[in-house]
């Protein structure tokens, strides 16, 4: 059996101590696997990824990652920060949040500078990632002036430049056109073929089959309601409807056409 990257037991988290954002999560994630966390909006996907990235910590249960148990005071331990941040990369759901630097170039090298890489190593990795993503002409631009697709690319590049072993991806294809979606999935799959562990949170059914060996579904109660192979879940229409992951097709409504009178209010 492959090495366990993440091990979660009875994990519970709630934002202000009232409404739970995640309940009783049990997960084992092996090195080199592709995992998809599925769930409708508000079911706790983002919260789970934040927990896995040691940005927030479980209030009940425990998380072990890369052979260490998470504790809140780990964030004050420089050795841990340097080790963990270079091994695990998180792509945030909202690229506007992730891209906080004044230029694309500064954004790309932020992690390397802060993790104490040498100038030479930084230059080397920068030119490599720029080539891979074909973003040379964006380097001096401000991230907020980019298009949605470009922002997403830069955000992923700024994570991959660390060459992490584990990639946590929060809705990597949300709001992208089909071509950009394709590009990004190809990049992710390539990373996986190089042995990296990929954990993706999404509710886009189209991309699940490619991005998952195994699917975990979060339900309205913010618990894992099913863990299964992607094919099994994707063909279970009743299940998908029940958990808000698919919608009924419109053509059933053909006979129900009715008109609205336009409303004027001036």
């Amino acid at each position: 059996m492959a090495r366990l990257i993440f091990e979660l037991k009875g994990v519970y988290f709630s934002y202000h101590g009232k409404i739970p954002a995640l309940c009783d999560i049990n997960l084992n994630i092996e090195e080199g696997s592709k995992i998809v966390i599925m769930g409708a909006n508000g079911t706790g996907k983002t919260t789970l990824l934040m927990l896995l990235d040691a940005l927030i910590f479980p209030q009940k249960g425990y998380i072990r990652a890369l052979d260490r148990e998470f504790r809140e005071n780990l964030l004050n331990d420089w050795e841990f920060v340097r080790f963990f941040r270079s091994k695990v990369g998180l792509l945030f759901q909202n690229p506007d949040v992730q891209l906080f630097s004044p230029t694309v170039k500064d954004e790309l090298i932020f992690s390397l500078l802060n993790l104490g890489f040498t100038q030479k190593e930084i230059e080397k990795r920068l030119s490599k990632i720029v080539q891979l993503f074909r973003i040379k002409e964006l380097l001096d631009r401000a991230p907020y002036q980019l298009s949605v697709g470009e922002k997403k690319k830069v955000a992923i590049a700024s994570v991959l430049i660390m060459e992490p072993e584990v990639l946590l991806l929060d809705e990597p294809t949300a709001g992208l056109d089909p071509q950009t979606t394709r590009d990004i999935i190809d990049i992710i799959l390539k990373e996986n073929s190089l042995g990296k562990t990929i954990i993706t949170a999404t509710h886009h059914l189209e991309i699940i089959e490619e991005l998952a060996d195994k699917v975990y579904v979060l339900g309205k109660e913010n618990k894992i309601v099913r863990s299964d192979y992607p094919k099994e879940v994707l063909y279970d229409e009743e299940f998908l409807l029940k958990y808000n992951l698919a919608h009924i097709h419109y053509h059933h409504h053909k006979d129900l056409v009715h008109t609205h009178l336009p409303l004027h209010n001036d």
């Binding site: 940005l55 340097r82 906080f100 993790l115 907020y144 660390m162």
Partner: protein
Amino acid sequence: MRVNSFIERSVVSAFSFFRESVLCENYASKRGLLQILSPPIKTLFVFFLLLAVFFSKSIIFILAVYSLCILLSYLSSIELRFFLKRTLVFVPIFYLVIALPSLFNVFTPGEPIIIFKIFNLTLNITHQGLFSFSILFLRVLTSVSLCVLLITTTFKYELLKVLPIFGVPHIFVLIVGMSYRYIYFFVEMFQNTYLAIKSRVGFIPSIKKGQFLVGANIANFWHRSYNLYNDVYNAMLARGYYREVKLPRSAKPHFVDWAFLVIGIFILGLSLWQG
């Protein structure tokens, strides 16, 4: 709907104002003389010239510095119309506050040219007054031009990066830089919220309702700002931020930089020597 269109107009104009100030970065990325200077040196150069203009009592000298500004703007591929428009927007504001009082003899005693009589108060425009009025006008015009040159030919964040050289901590620079960047994001968010309300409600029926909606939005806005701050902090942590931010270093100074430094010091010296 009066209220509605008022809010709409202010929102839209605020938005386009920020758009425009962002668009100004276009000049910073053009090829030109001032663009190739390193930002710290450019800042020093402008600072020396500001001092020179401030200390000089010669109209000819200040006119010469102003001509230099025009020349530099030309050499930095800034369109003359844009440059003049930008400076002329700011001049009256500075000018009226500082210069107008000195025009009248209340402040500058001397021989009168024109005499105003308002009630029993006599206001004379004097030779001396007119002289200091025009020298002040030129000073303000030239100072504003210098600042406009600095700001339009430099990326905003490059200007910010000059601060640590003068002892300002890196984290402050990052925060100011981010505020600038997120103003843009907020304005967009605010405008989207506004449009969302408008598209759902169709119109805002009364002043009271309008005020309520704006108020509710500001609360919502603060809440979202707080969340955004938290999220950005997390995004920094996730990529290895640990107690102290490390920013990339600016490029080393070149020959042109040293040349400009010397010219700046020379002009300042000239102004002081003139007295």
